[in-house]
């Protein structure tokens, strides 16, 4: 299994956050900056057990919350649930290094945005849903392309890819 240590998760999340706060705002307009932490969480959870997927999401989300310095727990809760869900799902689906991470990241974005809107609404941030969801297509497209690319860059492989892929029919 292509597992990373917790220290590696932290380094990955740190890099993701750096990209998110310093690099992507130069490219994307204000309010449209995509969430790289989501992509990293999806990638990690794709190769982990649900419990470890949840821990990874929790760490990534908490780091983002601490970095943002506003609603601490908003991203921690969101990404912990996301990590758990992706890790649970990955045990039941076919593994592929490009389409599955891309589609799952896009799907995650679709689920995470309304979930966070709801959480923000509960905690006193009353954003209009129409305005809040306006960057969603950009985020979906970014996640679909960025997640597999990042996976390839980090050398993620499917679990089966780690084992001997072929066996003789006679054996």
């Amino acid at each position: 299994m292509a597992r990373f240590r917790v220290g590696t998760w932290i380094v990955l999340y740190l890099l993701a956050l750096l990209i998110q706060v310093a690099l992507l705002p130069q490219i994307f307009p204000n309010g449209y900056v995509p969430n790289v932490v989501l992509s990293v969480t999806v990638l990690i959870a794709l190769y982990e057990t649900p419990r470890r997927g949840m821990y990874a999401g929790l760490i990534g989300g908490l780091m983002q919350d601490l970095w943002a310095g506003r609603l601490i727990g908003l991203n921690a809760l969101t990404f912990a649930l996301l990590g758990y869900a992706i890790a649970s799902l990955q045990q039941r689906i076919v593994h592929d290094p490009i389409f599955v991470p891309g589609l799952l990241a896009a799907l995650s974005q679709v689920v995470v945005t309304p979930f966070q809107w709801l959480l923000l609404f509960v905690f006193g941030y009353h954003f209009s849903w129409l305005v809040f969801s306006r960057p969603l297509p950009v985020w979906i497209l970014f996640s679909m392309l960025f997640t597999p690319a990042l996976g390839g860059l980090l050398g993620f492989r499917t679990r089966s890819g780690k084992r001997t892929p072929y066996r003789s029919l006679s054996s």
Binding site: V21, P29, N30, G31, A68, G69, R70, P135
Partner: protein
């Protein structure tokens, strides 16, 4: 006779040819015009063929030379592409430098105009990782004399205020942030209210007016009122885009387009101190407030 002719046939033919040529030369020397005409007739007859041949020859020549040139052209093309890339990047660099220069000139101008104000220039180094909160990190901190509550401005208008300070950096809450609020005034009618951050996606602000029947119109300029503890009087906030009654019809709310382009924000000025009661000059959007 026949035997004689056969015997001397070669000599006879040679003499005959020489005679014919001599006569021909003698004749053509005298009747040049007719010969040229003849030549012209021939040329006219064969000219299509000549043209075709010439065309073929020319095209073949061009083809051959083209094949020869291909290697040279390929090399030249590569060189030109490289030069084009270089010029394009130079052009980009130049436009960036020009934009930065304009921005810095504006800041220098602002600093000169606000002679009695103490301003500290700073660069934005990071934004908030959450899209719905609008804060930015600047490269000046407590070591440079920054404290929480200081206003942050650019020549175009007000940017926000410092909400957290570390030794080397400071966090600025932009006026777009949902938790931001500034005491503001409509410069034309002097109607007062609070400008609130609406949402970061549209980048618009909400002007909640205090008065029951305020006189506010689209196109009006809105500036800081000086009633806020953080922002000095007369800083430009933006321009009114639309006005609407609120849910219960008791007060009016205006939508404001900020004067500052937050997508292009790179260098800002932190207002460390300013003389009490002074307002920003009208050239920088400050007004009669």
């Amino acid at each position: 006779m026949g035997g004689f002719l056969y015997r001397w046939r070669r000599l006879l033919i040679t003499v005959l040819v020489v005679m014919v040529v001599t006569v021909s030369l003698s004749l053509t020397a005298r009747i040049r015009g007719t010969v040229i005409g003849l030549s012209n007739i021939i040329n006219t007859v064969v000219s299509p063929a000549e043209s075709s041949m010439a065309f073929l020859g020319r095209e073949t020549g061009i083809g051959i030379s083209t094949v020869g040139d291909l290697f040279t052209l390929q090399q030249q093309n590569r060189e030109l592409k490289r030069q084009l890339l270089q010029y394009n990047s130079m052009k980009l660099e130049l436009s960036e430098v020009l934009a930065e220069n304009g921005q810095l000139r504006g800041l220098v101008g602002l600093e000169q105009k606000l002679g009695t104000w103490k301003l500290d220039p700073a660069s934005i180094i990071a934004r908030n990782p959450d899209s719905w909160f609008n804060t930015a990190v600047i490269d000046q901190g407590a070591n440079n004399g920054l404290r929480t509550g200081m206003a942050v401005i650019v020549p175009q208008g007000v940017v926000g205020r410092v909400v957290a300070v570390s030794p080397g950096t400071a966090t600025v809450m932009l006026i777009l942030d949902p938790k931001s609020g500034i005491g503001a005034v409509d410069v034309r009618s002097q109607s007062t209210g609070v400008v609130l951050g609406q949402d970061p996606v549209t980048g618009l602000l909400q002007f909640q007016l205090f008065s029951h029947k305020p006189d506010i119109l689209p196109g009006d300029v809105v500036a800081t009122s000086g009633l806020s503890q953080y922002y000095p009087k007369g800083l430009l906030i933006g321009q009114v885009m639309s006005v609407a009654k609120n849910q219960f019809g008791l007060t009016e709310t205006a939508v404001i387009k900020p004067a500052v382009d937050f997508n292009r924000l790179q260098t800002v000025m932190v207002v460390e101190s300013h003389p009490s009661g002074t307002s920003i000059p009208p050239i920088f959007g400050g007004g009669q407030s």
